[in-house]
Structures are given as C-alpha cells and as structure tokens.
Symmetry: C2
Subunit: 247 residues, 2 copies
C-alpha cells in the first residue's frame, strides 16, 4: 500500500537512506527537524553543540548547514553563525508568488509533455484524496502532505529538471515549514481538491494555457487566504510584524 504513505515522506525516507555520507545524513536529519518544528524558527544553531549531539565532527555539520542555507531553511552570517530561518507573512507571500510563477510553468510543460498514464495516476491520486477526505473530513493531517503530493507530481511531469528541482528541493520544503507553523488554509481543503480536478481536466484536454491559468489561480487563491490572515492579525494585534506566536 503505497497510498498510505505520502510522496513527500517517501522522498524523505529515500533521501535519508541514500545518505552515503555523514553530511548528507545530517542535512536530511536537520531538515526534517526544522520542518517538523523540532528546531523552532529563529533558533540558534551552535556548531559544537549540534556536532556533539549528533556524534560527528564540525566538518560535515558545517556542510549540512550550508546546504540548508542554500535551501533557505537556515540563515547564516559570517562570524555570527546559523539560525533557523525566521518566518514572516512577507516571506510567505513572496514564496506564494514564486510558486505561482514556477508551478504555473510546470503545469504548462506537464500538459504539453506528460503521458496519458501520468494523467490517470494524477486522477487516481485525487480520488484517494477525496476518499480520505470523506473519512476524516475537515482539516485532516492528510491534507498537509497530500496537497504537496499533487504539486510534486505536476513538477516532475514537467520534464524540466531545473523547474522540478526548484519546486521539489527548494520551495516545497519551505512550504512544509510554513505549514507546520501556520495553518492558514482552514476550510480550503474541499475547494483545493476541486481546483486540482479542474487542473487535471485541462491537462487532459491538452489545453496548456488553461492548465497554467488554473494552477496560477489555485496558488493565488491560497496566497490571498494568507494575505487575509495577515490583515486579520494586524487588525487584532495592532502592529505585529512577525508571525511568531510562541515565546
């Protein structure tokens, strides 16, 4: 039963299993710890401490930190050190704009290039999502990764290595980080599923323009949801620039 495990988790497991080097394993461990929230945004990452904690030297650890910096999950400054990336509404909205552009293109390319079998698999994935939603309706844990699974597949179907890498390696990890900290998509689950179905329908008709348009509207809708949440929070808490609730 592959459907019981989300694609994102499978990719995670693969990345950790294929860690032929200590630095790769550390990178995967730290990435998961950050996305999972085990390391909170803004936390200082002290090299000797982490090295002792993982039982390795500082060399591979620094390599892992640098890879996390490239993925924008940690921020580093020379002679100052590394911190888990700070979260803010502005950055999340920036991220949505970037996703709207790149995923729109991925959807266009996928529409032009993917096989009928891939479209069948996409529809099967959405059927599975719908079934899960019937069981545990509302904001189930499933939605967290299930939505990303759909976008993962679109990205990979684009047959564009650069676009796929941008989405799957860079932007999606950031999305997951924000999702764990900030669930601003309340009640959007059924609507998102319908939008996914419309996208696949356009792809099935090989209407690349329309498929890209639908994908962009899908992501722009999610972004507007976040923008509305930001306005609500600003009105509620006066001038609160950050979105850290805890501590």
């Amino acid at each position: 039963m592959e459907a019981s495990r989300t694609l994102a988790e499978v990719l995670e497991r693969d990345a950790r299993a294929a860690a032929v080097t200590v630095a790769e394993r550390l990178f995967a461990e730290l990435r998961d710890a950050i996305v999972r929230g085990d390391l909170a945004p803004g936390d200082k990452l002290v090299e000797p401490e982490l090295a002792r904690q993982f039982g390795v030297s500082r060399g591979p650890l620094r390599e892992a930190l640098q890879r996390l910096e490239a993925r924008r999950l940690v921020e580093r400054a020379p002679h100052v050190g590394a911190r888990v990336a700070a979260l803010s509404f502005e950055r999340l909205i920036d991220l949505y704009h970037a996703r709207e552009a790149v995923e729109g293109m991925a959807c266009r390319l996928a529409t032009e290039r993917c096989s009928e079998g891939e479209l069948d698999a996409l529809e099967a994935l959405l059927d599975a999502h719908a079934a899960l939603e019937d069981v545990r309706d509302g904001t189930g844990y499933f939605q967290k990764e299930g939505d990303l699974d759909f976008h993962y597949r679109i990205a990979r179907a684009s047959r564009n290595a650069l676009v796929t890498q941008l989405l799957c390696d860079d932007l999606y990890q950031l999305m997951r980080l924000y999702r764990y900290k900030f669930s601003a998509y309340r009640g959007r689950t059924p609507r998102a599923l319908a939008e996914h179905r419309a996208i696949v329908a356009a792809m099935r008709e090989r209407d690349a323009d329309f498929a890209e348009l639908l994908m962009r509207r899908h992501i722009a809708g999610a972004r507007r949801n976040v923008e509305a949440a930001r306005r609500r929070q600003r009105k509620a808490a006066g001038t609160e620039p950050s979105m850290h609730q805890e501590e």
Copy 2:
C-alpha cells in the same frame, strides 16, 4: 562614470570586495573563472590542486565548491568529485522556461510596486543601450551584460526577495555561462531593445498583465532562437546531443 561599467560587473566586484571570509572569495573567484570560460564545462575540479593553486586549505575550497553546486555551476557526486557544469541545449531550454516564469512574475510585481523614478532609471538605461548600439552596431560585447542589466533591475524592482535571489543569484549566472560559450542571439540585439522598451511602456501604464505577457514573450522569443539553433545543429551534425564544440 557608472554607466561605463555594467551592473553585473559592479555586483561581481562588490561580491569579491565584501568577501570577509576565504570561502566567499574562493566562491567568487571560481564563479568568475567558470563564467569567463577559464574553467571549461566538464572540467574536473580536483580539490588538492585548486587548494594549492589558490594557496588555501581544502576546507574553504570545499565550501566554495558546495556553493557553486547550489548555484548549479558545478556538479558534484559523493566520492567522485566536482566538475564544471556540462552544457547542453536541453538545459539551456529548461533555463529559458524557468526564466520565462520567474521573470514574468518579477515584471508583474515590479509593475505593481516600483516607483516612477525607477521607471525613469529603466528608460535611461535603455537610452544608454541604444546609444551604445548606434556606436558599435551589431553584436557588440556590450550586449552580453547589457541585456542582463535590464533584467537585473526588473528583478530587483519586484520587491520580492525570493524572486530576486532566484534570478540574480541562480539563473543569471547560468545565463552568463551559456552566453560566453554559446552566442545564439545573432541579430536579436535591436529587436531585444525594442521589446525592452515595450515592457517599460507597459510598466509605465501600470498594466501588470501586459507587462508580464511582454516579458514572457521576450524570453520565449530568445528560447525559440535557441531551439532553432539546436535544430540547425542536429540537421548539420546528424545526432549530436551535446553542444560542446571544442575538444
């Protein structure tokens, strides 16, 4: 006289001057060497050799190599080593598709957000380009960086840190690498300038939809130029998958 020096060169110089650490300096040096063609695509980058050549240890060198890998300028494999990124038509076309998406969005955001002064500066830049083109018409060296200067400014005017970083730090360095190795934009210079002017005109009217559309068509046109070159080469040389002419 700031106009005599392209924005790209200024950014280069800044990056090297602000190198407070050995790893940063090495990164800038190697990046320039790769873009300049001093290190040819596919060249093996042996750590002890480079370290001795630059008079540093392998530690900072490895860090620089990793940063180059994140920028997709070198490819690394565990226990195998690093090589300068291989060039191919397929990757270049992938790059154009990614640029079309991200730069289109950058142009849209810039249209919505930039000031009138920034638009004035953009038009002044295009005037300078036109003047230079009158003097040294045809395919001047100027065009190489001048075109990117325009796109640099659009990216920065988007006020989106992620989009700006994607374009200026990641994709543009790759474009420069391909431009040095593969000048497939013969005779496009006057046309590109006209398209740039049309983009700024749409931005001046604050027509974000049209500005994005024009930017996307501008980049798509350049991409089709490359695709035509690929077809020509395929017809000429039978089945030549790579675009390395030398060696």
